[in-house]
């Protein structure tokens, strides 16, 4: 439900945005839409002639067309005479070098509206393009009505439509004659589109659309591309290893430079701005080439060298100071084809390299090709190859670049987000799997540990019962069956068995690593047996450090060792006193059991087969990494059990 609501909201937002844009556009254009429908009078025929002049002059305020030579030729509008490019360039370059003012020609166009425009109000004259490298003056009925390019052409002149208004008040004479005076250099040519004469309201919309599409929109797109380029620059500053972002910034910057001349109104001169404008085109091509190389990952050394060399050469030749090739409108038509050629070569070679394995490379090649095509149409329009009413599409080359590289960035961005999401999902999945695995393995380990513990415990008890309780009971049964044993003896054997059993049970009580508690328990169990034997037990224990390794198994070993020791004293000596003491030594603890009996030959007892009890003590002591020793004299025997503070594995 929530997801659907969100989707619905997103759609609403999208359509609302589009609707706002459409509404804004239509309001802008339909503002003065005439209700009559006729967009003024369309003037497509003119009389044309050229005159020579010694230099550029200011147009006089009044001019009678009858005063001009009667050499009029009827021409159709748009008018775009062919240009002898070489001659034009030569004169342009020569003129710039020699510093001599070249001869000037004046192209005259005489147009006569067929009938006076209908309706009163302000009239406007609108022409899509007037191209000349000199001044423009328009006379209505012999009176100067409009001037442009007083100081020669501006950068945006060819993209600025002709537009001016005429006062058509009640007393004003109807427009009978429109005379255009276009000055231009000797070898260059003019071009003129058809003109429209009509009410301002009717002509404003087409004029604004022209102006917007040829100047304002390219400026906006160029600025947008530049902004994205700056963004890419900041990305590169943080990720220096990704040169593509730097190249993107370079592309944006050169495209911005190149785009400036479409809308700035600086006068065209052989200066640094012109130099930048012309060379930016070469840099743009070079930049795209490098970008392509990044995409298809082939160095293309020779091509790169050639492109760099050409670019550098053009840059050097067109330097404003040197002026070998001045960057004047008369000369540039010869330079631009070089750029177009470079671009095509880069396009073909890069495309061949990228075709198979880089979709992005293909996209860039398409983009470059489109830009080249746009540039070529611009060139053709500029040089009168196609009609003067055509569109300057080159202004959209930065836009194409923007769309192309924006698509690349968009793809990378979306892919990166998807990748991050995929990685995150994978990570969570792997983590969950790993956790489950760990849990399972932990469970298995616990099971194994438990089984091992049970098995160890069973083995320990089995061993203990086998050695102690079991064998005592069996020998008691044999003795009873043979009948050579008294009741008192049977009772004693059974009591010993019960003591054994009690110690086994005690070994399983939690003693918390306390050896004294273990010895205390032993005393508690054995004390009743000492009653009536006439033997006194002297308890001389001291505080001991804890033995962390004490577990039921080692506890039972220790209990049995001490039990055996006391039993031996009771069985084999005439001692009247047993002393039990404990001491802490450097690396362990000691339990001493002393008696005042007769003493015995330790070596003989150990070597002798009869010393099974002593050997058992040794064996059990070894099982807990401890040691046993006897110190016997006629006064008595002292038995010592040494136990380590830490088990052998941890020392």
């Amino acid at each position: 439900m929530r997801a659907r609501a969100q989707r619905l909201l997103a759609h609403l937002l999208l359509w609302f945005s589009v609707a706002v844009l459409v509404a804004a556009g239509s309001l802008y254009l339909d503002h003065d839409e005439p209700h009559g429908g006729a967009a003024g009078q369309h003037l497509t025929r003119a009389d044309w002639q050229e005159t020579l002049a010694p230099g550029y002059t200011t147009p006089p305020p009044r001019l009678d067309s009858a005063a001009l030579p009667p050499a009029w030729q009827a021409v159709a509008l748009p008018f775009n005479p062919a240009i002898a490019l070489l001659r034009q360039a030569e004169s342009g370059a020569g003129g710039a070098r020699n510093g001599v003012a070249p001869a000037v020609r004046v192209s005259w166009f005489k147009l006569a509206p067929e009938q006076p425009p209908a309706g009163a109000g302000t009239l406007a004259l609108y022409g899509i393009r007037v191209k000349t490298d000199g001044t423009v003056a328009v006379y209505i009925n012999g009176r100067l009505a409009h001037r442009a390019q007083q100081r020669g052409p501006l950068w945006n002149s060819t993209r600025t439509p002709l537009w001016f208004t005429l006062d058509n008040g009640p007393g004003a004479a109807p427009v009978r004659e429109i005379l255009l005076r276009l000055e231009h250099s000797d070898a260059s040519q003019t071009a003129l589109s058809s003109l429209r004469l009509g009410p301002v309201e009717a002509l404003r919309a087409p004029y604004h659309v022209r102006l917007w599409l040829q100047q304002e929109l390219p400026a906006m797109l160029s600025a947008a591309f530049m902004a994205v380029g700056v963004f890419a620059l900041f990305v590169w500053l943080r990720r220096r290893h990704e040169t593509a972002y730097l190249l993107f910034f370079n592309l944006a910057a050169t495209a911005f430079l190149r785009g400036l001349h479409f809308y700035v109104d600086l006068p065209i001169e052989n200066d640094w701005f012109a130099w930048l404008t012309v060379n930016a085109l070469f840099w743009l091509v070079l930049s795209v080439h490098f970008f392509l190389c990044q995409l298809h990952r082939q160095p293309l050394r020779w091509l790169t060298r050639a492109l760099v060399a050409v670019t550098a050469l053009i840059g050097a030749l067109t330097l404003p100071g040197l002026a070998v090739l001045p960057t004047l409108p008369t000369v540039t038509p010869m330079i631009y084809p070089v750029a177009a050629l470079m671009s095509l070569v880069a396009c073909v070679v890069g495309g061949t390299c990228a075709w198979r394995h880089s979709g992005e490379g293909r996209l860039v090649v398409y983009g470059l090709f489109a830009c080249t095509a746009l540039g070529v149409t611009d060139w053709m329009l500029q040089n009168n190859v196609i009609g003067a009413e055509g569109w300057y599409l080159g202004a959209y080359a930065p836009a194409v670049c923007f769309i192309t590289f924006g698509t690349l960035m968009y793809r990378r961005y979306v892919d990166a987000i998807a990748e991050v999401e995929r990685v995150n999902a994978g990570l969570a999945e792997r983590l969950a799997a790993r956790e489950a695995e760990l849990e399972a393995s932990h469970h298995r380990l616990r099971q194994i540990e438990l089984r091992q513990t049970i098995s160890d415990e069973r083995q320990r008890l089995m061993q203990d019962m086998h050695d102690g309780l079991g064998s005592s009971l069996i020998s008691a049964i044999r003795s009873v069956e043979r009948g050579n044993i008294g009741d008192a003896r049977v009772s004693q054997i059974l009591k010993d068995c019960l003591d054994d059993l009690k110690l086994t049970i005690d070994s399983m009580e939690p003693v918390e690593a306390d050896l004294l508690l273990l010895l205390a328990t032993l005393r508690f169990r054995l004390e009743p047996r000492l009653e009536g034997t006439g033997v006194s037990l002297l308890w001389e224990v001291r505080e001991l450090p804890t033995l962390d390794w004490l577990n039921p198994s080692s506890a039972l070993h220790i209990l049995r060792i001490v039990q055996e020791s006391i039993a031996n004293i009771l069985r084999h000596t005439r001692a009247t006193e047993i002393r039990v003491g404990t001491t802490a030594v450097a690396d362990g603890v000691q339990v001493h059991i002393g008696d005042n009996g007769g003493g015995f030959d330790v070596a003989a007892a150990l070597g002798h087969g009869g010393g099974r009890g002593l050997q058992n003590q040794q064996r059990r002591a070894a099982a807990v990494d401890g040691k046993v020793g006897w110190n016997s004299s006629a006064a008595g025997t002292t038995f010592t059990l040494w136990l380590p503070l830490k088990p052998r594995g941890q020392v």
Binding site: K495, L498, L501, K502, I505, D506, E509, V511, E512, D514, L516, L517, L519, A520, T521, L522, R523, F524, E527, P528, E531, W539, V541, V580
Partner: protein, 231 residues
Amino acid sequence: MTPASHHDPHPIHVAIVEDDPDFSNALSLVVENAADMRLAAKAGTQAQGLSMLAGPPADVLLVDLGLPDGSGIEVIRAAARHWPSCSIMVSTNFGDETHVMRSIEAGAAGYLLKDSSPSRMADEIRSLANGGSPISPIIARQILARFRHQPAAPAHGQAAAHGEEAPAPLSQREKQVLDYITKGFTVHEIAGLMTLSHFTVRTFVRRIYSKLKVSSKAEAIFEARTQGLLS
């Protein structure tokens, strides 16, 4: 606090709940042979033991835990209620921690090892009747651990507020007695070390047991409250 005497005009009345006829007879014999004791009653099952409690109270009650129709723990609990003046003793084969601690918590004041000699049995009964209690090192350690782990359980405050017996913590001397026991010293040796009579040491143990009983009861109430068994 009067020591036992064979010419005591008030003999110790002993009641027995024991299903093993051999041990029951051995016990009866011990009681009958002692001049200062009288066998007051005998029961072989839990049911008989419980109905016996309706009669006049004995001084010492000997209870076996493994009765054919139920646990002796119930008998101990009921006896502690019906015969508050009676000293209850659990008879056990091994004197192992689990059985003895449960019995003490139910209200027993001591335990009797079944393999003890007759004279020792008589001594134990006498000592119990006089307000003393036996103890083993492992049980001493368990009690120390128990009191160490619950010095300020929340149940204490609540029990006090309800006017019940509040479980008092162990006194310094009581702790000292337990500590000596865990190191293997006998009651006589401890009496010497602490310059007390051995009888006083045994009464210390009795007091410790009653504290353990109260504390375990408070603990049970607290447990029940936290688990929502009691409102």
